[in-house]
């Protein structure tokens, strides 16, 4: 696909974002038109989907994502998410989405108490979201996981709702790397347009620099979804 005609997908750079360039590259490699967005702006620059990338925004001081959640651009992201725009939070982005209450629950320090960088096996639990439709239900995939605060927690009722409504979309298999409740690696909101996950699909789009290409389906899902709606 020619990137200049693919749908415009934005990637927000916060102070301390690290995997923003990787997310932009993944969008390009998968046929979208990557658009860098700046945390201090109050426009989404006509993008049709937004990715909040990985990194240590504001140094992950206080709590991961807690400070970024108040960036000017987030006002727009929150509004757009409520209007149904596809929004993906990867790792630090997932943490920001939770802090912004676009997704329920929170991410806390790994139970192993150290940063974990590994190739993590996952099961795709739901393909009914804008970001996972190109997977097959129950598919086993491997993605790079690299985080220090990746333990997903939520109260019992929230967990019951997530499980009951099919909002758990990725689950760790062959070992839980960080103590996440119910082995949860990624979730979506009720509508399925907002997705957050701890592993990094953008590091799995090129066999040269990642362990697999399993991350491509994330990007192609949203690109196909948007292309179909033109």
């Amino acid at each position: 696909m020619d990137p200049s005609v693919g749908p415009r997908i934005g990637v927000v750079t916060f102070p301390g974002s690290l995997d923003d360039q990787d997310a932009l590259r993944a969008i390009r490699l998968c046929g979208g038109q990557p658009v860098p967005l700046w945390h201090g702006d109050d426009t989404l620059d006509d993008v049709r989907a937004v990715i909040l990338p990985g990194g240590f925004s504001y140094g992950d001081y206080l709590r991961c994502g807690a400070i970024s959640r108040f960036a000017p651009v987030m006002t727009e992201v929150i509004k757009a998410a409520h209007d149904g725009m596809p929004v993906l939070g990867i790792c630090n982005g997932f943490q920001i989405l939770c802090e912004a209450h676009l997704l329920p629950g929170a991410l806390i320090r790994n139970d192993v108490r150290v940063f974990v960088c590994k190739d993590q096996d996952l099961r795709v639990e739901s393909v009914d979201t804008t970001w996972t439709s190109d997977f097959t239900q129950g598919q086993g995939i491997t993605l790079v996981l690299k985080s220090g605060e990746g333990g997903y927690v939520a109260d019992e009722e929230t967990l019951r709702r997530l499980e009951g409504e099919g909002q758990v979309i990725f689950r760790y298999v062959n070992g839980n790397p960080n103590g996440s409740f119910n082995d949860i690696a990624g979730i979506c909101n009720e509508r399925g347009n907002v997705v957050g996950l701890m592993p990094h699909p953008e590091h799995n789009v090129d066999s040269l620099t990642g362990p697999t290409q399993d991350g491509r389906a994330i990007f192609s899902s949203v690109i196909n979804f948007l292309a179909a709606r033109v």
Partner: protein, 101 residues
């Protein structure tokens, strides 16, 4: 002023658990620990009820994530107080406690 932020009891606390285990291994028996955060706030100007309420809002908005944490705001003297001062200091504390979160 001081804002204490603690993980809610039902949320798992990997750091507290680790500290608990480490203490036991070091021979400090029968101690169980939960780990939270302590913020010492240097607030310019007089500490009025309004100012307290504002700090409370700040805590709720930013310092604590009320999904998983509780917090407690209170006025406290500088913590470097020496042993002698402590009684007085404690008595002076005004608290604006909260179950927020």
């Amino acid at each position: 002023m001081v804002v204490d932020v603690m993980p809610k009891p039902e949320i798992l606390d990997p750091q507290g658990k680790a500290v608990t285990g480490a203490l036991a291994r070091l021979g400090f028996a029968g101690i169980s620990v939960r780990q939270g955060k302590r913020f010492e706030l240097d607030v310019i100007g007089e500490i009025t009820e309004d100012r307290l309420a504002e700090v409370h809002r700040a805590a709720e908005t930013l310092l604590a994530n009320t999904v998983i944490e509780t917090f407690n705001v209170r006025v406290e003297e500088a913590p470097e107080a020496s042993e002698e001062d402590d009684q007085a200091e404690s008595a002076e504390q005004t608290e604006l406690a909260t179950q927020a979160g």
